[in-house]
Symmetry: C2
Subunit: 252 residues, 2 copies
């Protein structure tokens, strides 16, 4: 019995070696911080040091690390190289993962040119696009290939991660093709909600959303009472000023 049988409010009911999602999302940050420390020639670091480097609270860092095991030494701290390897192993980046990028436009080009993935556990094995004018173009040491080759590539290179940088329109269709081909993790840059079957993981990156979140807080800083930097809101009559006028009622 892995303890998941008793559904009582006691302990957080952690599954066998199941690491909380919030912790998983921070492990890569710790990994980055450890790599930086290692590059600086630092061999040992306390949770306080590491927490500072990673931009988190030290108690949180210690608790996060405790899910992986007891890799520190009381009274001393953590061995940088050792912990780095343990985290890399837990994340699964001790060997490279094959990745395909679909949609080699502005963003796809930037990603294809980026050298940082190789050093972080990922190997881009193909750049795919549906536009015949793009197919054959060289980017770095790679060549853009036809999207139709997807299935062959996924099988040949055992690709399990796909990146979607197509426009929003074809994104779901591209996603379906990826999943059908055997890809089980997708990073989506298109501003749409993709639906996938169980067992497939999706993460999305939406830059407009990030900016809008910043805008929300920005608006509250200046004015404090819903007075944006360039205050030009009408009275709260509930009518949109520059949109097709729509009353508060609905069916009328």
């Amino acid at each position: 019995m892995t303890r998941a049988s008793s559904r009582r409010p006691g302990p957080p009911t952690r599954t066998e070696r199941g690491i909380p999602e919030a912790t998983v999302a921070r492990l890569p940050v710790y990994l980055r911080a450890l790599t930086a420390l290692s590059d600086s020639g630092i061999a040992t670091a306390s949770s306080e040091d590491l927490a500072t480097a990673a931009g988190v609270n030290s108690a949180k860092l210690r608790k996060d690390l405790s899910y992986l095991g007891s890799y520190g030494t009381r009274g001393v701290g953590y061995d940088v190289e050792y912990l780095r390897y343990q985290i890399a192993r837990e994340i699964g980046v001790t060997q490279d993962w094959a990745v395909v990028i679909v949609g080699i436009g502005n963003l796809g080009h930037a990603l294809a040119n980026y050298s940082g993935f190789g050093t972080r556990g990922f190997r881009i094995v193909a750049l795919l696009d549906a536009d015949p004018a793009l197919v054959g173009e060289r980017i770095g040491d790679m060549e853009v290939r036809d999207f139709a080759e997807l299935e062959d590539i996924v099988e040949a290179d055992r690709v399990s991660i796909g990146v979607i940088t197509t426009p929003a329109g074809p994104a779901q269709e591209v996603c379906d093709r990826l999943v059908a081909a055997g890809v089980t993790s997708i990073l989506n840059f298109a501003p749409v909600v993709l639906s996938v079957p169980d067992g497939v993981d999706i993460r999305k990156v939406d830059l407009s959303i990030e900016l809008q979140i910043l805008a929300y807080h920005e608006q509250r800083k200046s004015g404090e009472v819903a007075l944006p930097q360039v205050p030009e809101l009408p009275a709260t009559n509930g009518l949109t000023p520059d949109l097709p006028a729509v009353g508060g009622g609905v069916g009328a």
Copy 2:
């Protein structure tokens, strides 16, 4: 500090019109969904419809919207245009925010070429780079300008949002310059933890981290018991195989 007088465990103790962070992060998604519905000519949508379009649970959506006010009609649903305007107003994107992008390399170019920001409440007013070879280059209808002009631009255009797409090395320095110039919200793409004074908001986008999170789950799918796709781990002796050998001990 407005409130903080009654520090009791009763209701969630919401600040005066303070919207939970988790909700703030979803509002842009609702906005996007509403815009899509609007473009499809749909005038009214129930919380169920909206929730599906936004990829969330309908109870969560209703609760989120309830923080903004009572903008729906029981028995009917929400007026798409009306709700869209209310959310846009709450986020603060009923008028445009001026944005500067610093570091016009691969990623900076992609962002500069992206047309989606303009329709979502943001106006890119300057592309800045420290490399003299880049200054003067035209991208779309803009021209890359020298980073030294930052302060003038921020003041002239009342810029409050900055985007950092420089390498990790100079990112903190660039960040400091932005803050000193008066920028109070920063979107950071460089893989470093930036430190900023209180009152300045930071959001980060790190694609390697996103991929690593996917890799973690991918690893658990295949193998289930820490058996990655290409199992090649040594016994758990605590030594890194291909890193400079480091013992488990620390001071020895």
